[in-house]
């Protein structure tokens, strides 16, 4: 983890209000763990003041380039979406603990479940898992077909199921609709689940597998201050002692073992 300036290589829309930015610089060499995030200063000066946490979508360690996919939603990300190639972006990272993959064994089957702008970190994860000989199936959900991205790239790494809420692409409904035998995604068919997406989706997954012994990891999101664990802005209750203590999403997470956090 450190702070540095990365150069914009490209910054193009990939879906409705969603951009993919490619950055290059020495700092990228530290980014070898899928599921970590970067704390991005979207523009110079004091407005917007704070950094924005954005997940790492893909990394090429050889060329020292990384990709992030983000939605231009608020003031910071809108400014970021206007960055042109050659510009320099102030990056702090990589931060947090990513998806644990070191203990995966060849021949295992991993289920990658993503929703909206929670999908991007699953790409780097899928690449890593496939390299380790793990079979990957992605189930990714969006609002409408205009919002869909990364289907082809994830498709090169394993089977991909797409859901949209309005049914304009793929299955009409939610990602959880597909997690059954009909789609070959019943509990017995996979070994581990990795997920990143909106809170209700993560909560639905946690509830669904609460009574099972399935292994799973959820990547959480929250408004952040420092991004390094000092300010205690982005916390969530830890499950072990129920409401007795908090986990810091930025530094203890953002990825947590499925049953270690309380999503309420």
């Amino acid at each position: 983890m450190d702070k540095g300036l990365l150069t914009v290589i490209s910054n193009e829309p990939v879906a409705d209000r969603v951009f993919r930015i490619r950055l290059q610089g020495d700092l990228v060499k530290l980014m070898d763990s899928p599921g970590q995030f970067l704390h991005v200063k979207c523009g110079p000066g004091i407005d917007p003041l704070l950094r924005r946490p954005i997940s790492i979508c893909d990394v090429d360690l050889e060329t020292a380039t990384l990709d992030m996919i983000y939605r231009a939603e608020g003031s910071g990300t809108r400014i970021l979406s206007e960055s042109v190639p050659g510009a320099e972006i102030d990056i702090l990272g990589p931060l947090g603990h990513g998806f644990p993959v070191g203990h995966r064994k060849e021949g295992e089957h991993a289920l990658l479940i993503g929703g909206g702008v929670g999908v991007p970190p699953l790409l780097y994860l899928a690449k890593r898992l496939v390299k380790q000989g793990v079979k990957v199936t992605s189930v990714i959900g969006f609002g409408t077909t205009e919002q869909v991205f990364l289907v082809e790239e994830l498709g090169q790494l394993g089977e991909v199921y797409v859901t949209t809420i309005d049914g304009s692409r793929g299955h009409k409904g939610l990602v959880t609709d597909l997690l059954n035998e009909q789609y070959g995604l019943g509990n017995a068919s996979w070994d581990v689940l990795y997920s990143c997406g909106p809170f209700p989706m993560l909560k639905a997954l946690q509830d669904r597998y609460a009574d099972s012994d399935k292994e799973g990891y959820l990547s959480l999101e929250q408004r952040m201050g420092c991004g390094v664990g000092a300010c205690l802005a982005c916390v969530c209750p830890a499950s072990e002692e129920s409401a007795k203590s908090y986990q810091k999403i930025c530094s203890d997470g953002p990825v947590f073992e499925m049953r270690k956090v309380v999503l309420s």
Binding site: I46, D47, M224, G225, G227, A230, C231, A233, V235, A243
Partner: protein, 306 residues
């Protein structure tokens, strides 16, 4: 690296430079020790400590504002015994003064923490957070009434073995009267200012963004308020002031000195740039040259001294 030109004496505490991270914006230092050697800091003000563990407020706890941020963390901390055993012990490796911020909801709470913490060998001073609601006085904050603030200060001074700085709230009609009251009660110095109460509302949900509804505004947006209050107070008291509120650069430090501060604390800037404190320290000496002064102490209150 450091030069005596930046050294200040803060109520008897020798600081190699006048820059410290502000309480609540630096944890207990561990996170930032991964970026640089904490010995570079003039002092370290660590997170507010209470008698018992505090879990803090529900999330969201922060919301951004133009040039600033609102926070309602809720004094999350592990409680005084754990702070002493784990955090202050860890900080023993650094040769820089440690200032511990203390908080509570009754005078007894404050006294208990002050008594315990001020006896720890590497604690150089206490910073009294008087912006907490006093449960025995119907929830009025200790810091908004000169009499209550003075009485609390007096009780803390009775038990403290180290200098006591009182951190003043800007959410008052007359900050000078509070400053004078705590000086008279024996305060060794003042920290100015704590955050300004504020709120943001989400247009989509039509509800406040912060789960706590209201929060404390910090960052560059509040600097002019702090400068004004320090300007007013420093001319009316004879105790040193740690200036804080939106310090992001060496220029800001100079401005605080001109207003009457003897040291500064860097808060929100740490979140924007983890290297904020050492960067500011590095740039300070150049500013002394520009200002044509040998020692930074020459600038204390230079804005109003004739």
């Amino acid at each position: 690296m450091t030069s005596s030109r930046l050294a200040v004496n803060l109520a008897g505490i020798e600081m190699k430079n006048p820059v410290m991270p502000a309480s609540g914006c630096f944890g207990f230092g561990r996170e930032y020790s991964r970026f640089y050697d904490l010995n570079r800091l003039g002092a370290i003000a660590v997170k507010a400590t209470t008698v018992e563990e505090r879990l803090g407020n529900p999330t969201p706890r922060v919301a951004e504002t133009p040039g600033g941020m609102l926070n309602a963390i809720g004094l999350q901390n592990p409680g005084v015994e754990k702070v002493v055993a784990e955090e202050l012990t860890w900080l023993e490796q650094f040769d820089t003064p440690i200032i511990v911020n203390i908080a509570g909801t009754t005078t007894e709470d404050y006294v208990e923490v002050a008594d315990r913490i001020s006896k720890v060998k590497n604690v150089a001073a206490l910073e009294l957070n008087i912006s907490c609601p006093n449960v025995k006085c119907g929830g009025i904050t200790f810091g908004t009434d000169p009499v209550i603030a003075g009485e609390l200060t007096k009780e803390i001074k009775k038990v403290s073995d180290v200098p006591v700085f009182v951190k003043l709230s800007p959410n008052v009609t007359d900050v000078v009267s509070i400053a004078k009251a705590v000086e008279e009660a024996g305060a060794d110095g003042l920290s100015m200012i704590n955050t300004l109460l504020g709120m943001r509302i989400d247009l989509r949900t039509r509800k406040p963004i912060l789960a706590n509804q209201v929060g404390g505004l910090s960052g560059p947006a509040i600097k002019p308020v702090a400068i004004r209050m320090i300007w007013q107070v420093s001319q009316q008291v004879n105790i040193p002031i740690i200036g804080m509120g939106g310090v992001h650069s060496a220029e800001d430090v100079i401005e605080y000195f001109l207003a009457g501060a003897t040291a500064v604390a860097v808060g929100t800037a740490n979140f924007v740039d983890p290297y904020a404190c050492p960067t500011i320290i590095d740039e300070l000496e150049g500013w002394l040259d520009k200002m044509g002064v040998q020692s930074i102490t020459e600038l204390i209150g230079a804005g109003w001294k004739s």
